[in-house]
């Protein structure tokens, strides 16, 4: 389309240029022609006047002489003297002569023609009239005799006199009675005319000629060129019948503008070619631009689809579990670009809520790809793994393996047992969530390193017990680092302030959203912003009770545990074998503390707390001894034969076997072992 338009433009431009050039050429030619006309005419006229000047003077001299001669007809010997006198005054005249009519002077015969000829040595008189020189039939004799008027002859070569090309002017000679008795002739040399005529030369190669009545050349340049095309001007010379003409070669006249026209044509072609190039280039650029904008549109379209896919990966229907009274979740994700690197996810498996929040380094498409991978890995790994520590460790392994682009993910993963409020969590370099219980505080987390940085790293998990109405608020740094116009951060304090009052998860997030929006104002969103609010509402926990037992680090106090468990079992009406198992687990846990946490001989206390809920029992064994983590001890392998079986390691094995959840943490100089049994 552009090519056709361009071609049309070029053709139009060419047409316009050509028409302009033609008009210009036409007018230039006309002007030159006018100038040539006037120059030729004026030069010709000037020369014509000069020639006429001479011819008139010759005519006048001849008339005067003929008039004077009539007085001397009776004395013919005087005639040559008169002629000589005249010739002395007029150097142009080559010969002066009188030709008398047939037998006018009988003594001189039929032909009498005395001639004075100008020779280098002077004027010489001679008589040439004879039978051989029979002038009675010559023009110059007949015409004046017949008409009585002067006559200019055709030029001829004067072979008798000056031996030059001459022309004769003859006038009749009358006697007293007025009868014509002969003619007086003067021969005029034509050399001087050559000079005059050659001066009529308005252009370098122009030339002029003087021709006689009959077209014989009188004066001409030594050599005349012939031209293919020429302009010709003519002018008659008074009375003589001569014609002066000027020939101007058109080549010379128009050569200049032809040259200019050629140059202009050349420039025009050059210009047109340039125009074609420019048009082609512009067309190509235009097409390129269109391609770019087309591909940009395509990319934007694909980004929209990608966003759709990404958003479909994360749970977005709220409330997610309308049939459940024990949990209320609300989340929001707001990518800074079409697609983002933030993620959150949650789902319930075996009465446990698995949830996570993460932030991939960077933004946009690369981050979104890593986000998708992280989310998929989380689902895959957590499908058969219920320890957040193991989930995070496993994720880190996978992410480190394929991390060729040095992208990392800050990640927080939690597993909340909905039956008993036990929340185990593991952090990988992510912002510590806020825990909202009786207080409002930042959840104590191990900072650790983000996923994808240190392969082989073991991530430790942590634990906290949630009670009825406790909540946990997770977020990405897009919240705390939301910038206002002055590039100040929203910050942790504003975030904590916004989390106030007893509200549902949804209103909490909406409040937070409003707080951030009013803080940020019109500043552009600098990072993806994701929030996840989990509200634990298990009524079961509301009717909970607690039991405490404090013993010394003395094996002999172990039997007290039996009574402690017995009391709980009675209260919860547990069957005997479960009661025994609980007793067993508790004894193993406490024995471990007595044996390993406190060095031999030192006195210490072991605190046993039981949280009794509708559907779960939580035992928390804590001591102030040296750090001892029974969960990190090697597991007994019960498939081994007698001889290979080690003596120890059975205790913690049985604890794990009996309890649904066992976890250890060291906090405030205490070993804290939490064991939960769902009932």
């Amino acid at each position: 389309m552009y090519a056709r338009q361009g071609l049309l433009m070029v053709l139009l431009a060419a047409l316009l240029l050509e028409v302009t050039s033609l008009i210009q050429y036409f007018y230039a030619k006309k002007g030159l022609r006018k100038e040539a006309d006037s120059r030729a005419q004026s030069e010709m006229t000037a020369t014509r006047l000069r020639i006429e000047n001479y011819t008139l003077s010759v005519e006048n001299d001849a008339r005067l002489l003929s008039w004077a001669l009539s007085d001397f007809l009776d004395n013919p010997d005087e005639l040559p003297a008169l002629i000589t006198k005249m010739m002395d005054n007029n150097p142009v005249i080559a010969n002066g002569f009188v030709a008398f009519k047939d037998n006018y002077y009988p003594q001189h015969g039929r032909w009498y023609e005395p001639v004075v000829t100008r020779l280098p040595e002077g004027l010489v008189l001679h008589q040439i009239g004879s039978q051989e020189h029979d002038y009675f039939s010559a023009d110059w004799y007949i015409k004046p005799m017949q008409t009585g008027d002067g006559y200019w002859s055709e030029p001829y070569f004067d072979k008798d006199g000056v031996k030059k090309l001459v022309v004769t002017y003859s006038v009749p000679v009358n006697d007293d009675s007025g009868a014509r008795v002969g003619i007086l002739g003067v021969d005029v040399e034509l050399d001087w005319l050559n000079v005059l005529v050659s001066m009529v030369k308005p252009y370098k190669n122009a030339f002029s000629t003087l021709t006689s009545r009959k077209g014989q050349l009188i004066a001409a340049p030594p050599e005349t060129l012939s031209f293919e095309k020429s302009l010709r001007y003519e002018s008659d010379i008074y009375r003589t019948g001569w014609k002066i003409s000027v020939t101007i070669p058109e080549d010379e006249l128009y050569g200049h503008i032809k040259k200019i026209s050629t140059l202009v044509l050349f420039l025009q072609i050059l210009g047109l070619m340039l125009l074609i190039l420019i048009i082609q280039w512009t067309a190509r650029e235009q097409i390129k631009l269109e391609n770019i904008s087309a591909s940009r549109e395509k990319i934007e379209e694909e980004l929209k689809i990608a966003r759709g896919i990404q958003m479909a990966m994360i749970p977005k229907v709220f409330p997610p579990y309308p049939e459940r009274k024990d949990i209320d979740i609300y989340a929001s994700i707001l990518p800074a670009k079409e697609v983002g690197g933030d993620l959150y996810d949650f789902y319930i498996r075996d009465e446990k809520l698995y949830f996570c929040i993460g932030d991939v380094s960077g933004k946009g498409v690369p981050a979104s790809l890593v986000m998708a991978v992280t989310r998929s890995l989380f689902r895959t790994v957590s499908a058969h793994e219920n320890s957040p520590g193991h989930i995070v460790t496993s994720l880190n392994e996978s992410m480190s393996e394929m991390n060729e682009n040095n992208m990392f993910v800050t990640f927080f993963c939690g597993v909340l047992d909905l039956r008993n409020g036990n929340l185990r969590y593991c952090n990988a370099g992510h912002n510590a969530p806020v825990i909202l219980n009786t207080d409002k505080s930042i959840l104590p987390v191990e900072p650790n390193v983000p996923l994808g940085i240190v392969p082989g790293m073991k991530f430790q998990e942590q634990e906290i017990e949630l009670r009825y109405d406790d909540a946990i608020f997770l977020y990405t740094d897009g919240l705390t680092e939301a910038e206002n116009m002055n590039h100040d951060f929203f910050g942790e304090q504003r975030m904590l302030d916004a989390l106030s009052g007893l509200k549902g998860s949804r209103s909490h997030l909406e409040e937070m959203q409003k707080a951030v929006e009013s803080y940020v104002g019109h500043a552009p969103q600098s990072d993806d912003l994701t929030m996840l609010f989990i509200h634990y509402l298990n009524d079961d926990s509301s009717s909970e009770s607690e039991k405490h037992l404090l013993i010394h680090n003395d094996i002999q106090q172990i039997p007290q545990l039996a009574a402690f468990v017995e009391a709980i079992a009675e209260k919860k009406q547990l069957d005997h074998s479960l009661s025994l198992n609980l007793n067993l687990a508790l004894e193993e846990a406490v024995t471990n503390v007595i044996m390993y946490a406190y060095p031999k001989g030192t006195d210490g206390l072991v605190d046993i707390e039981a949280i009794i809920r509708e559907h779960s029992l939580t035992f928390i064994v804590s001591d102030s001894g040296q750090p001892f983590d029974p969960t990190s001890q090697p597991q007994a392998d019960i498939s081994l034969g007698v001889d290979d079986r080690p003596i120890g390691g059975l205790g913690i094995y049985m604890v794990r076997n009996i309890m649904d959840s066992v976890s250890y943490r060291r906090s405030d100089g205490k070993n804290i072992l939490t064991m939960i049994k769902n009932i």
């Binding site: 039996a562 067993l584 001889d643």
Partner: protein, 101 residues
Amino acid sequence: MDITIKTQGTETIVTFNGRLDTPAAQQAAAQLEPLQEKAGGTIILDCKDLTYISSSGLRIFLVLRKAASQNGGTVIVRSIGRDIRNVFMMTGFLNLFQIED
């Protein structure tokens, strides 16, 4: 915890009565230590009245079993109740001992 030990020829019968928890196991370990010398014969551990056993108790059983294994003897666990059987199952002890009703 009461433990009685009766030896008839190469056969020794140990009868447990009560809870074999950690402190009881410490006491029992001392009491049963000489039996390791008789591990070449048959040791019958009568658990009819054993109501509870923790890992410390199991440990005593395992020690005897290892000694028997080394000396070519036999350890028979007799008349275990449902609760003790559960513990044996949990720990894989059912496979280590010859169980008799």
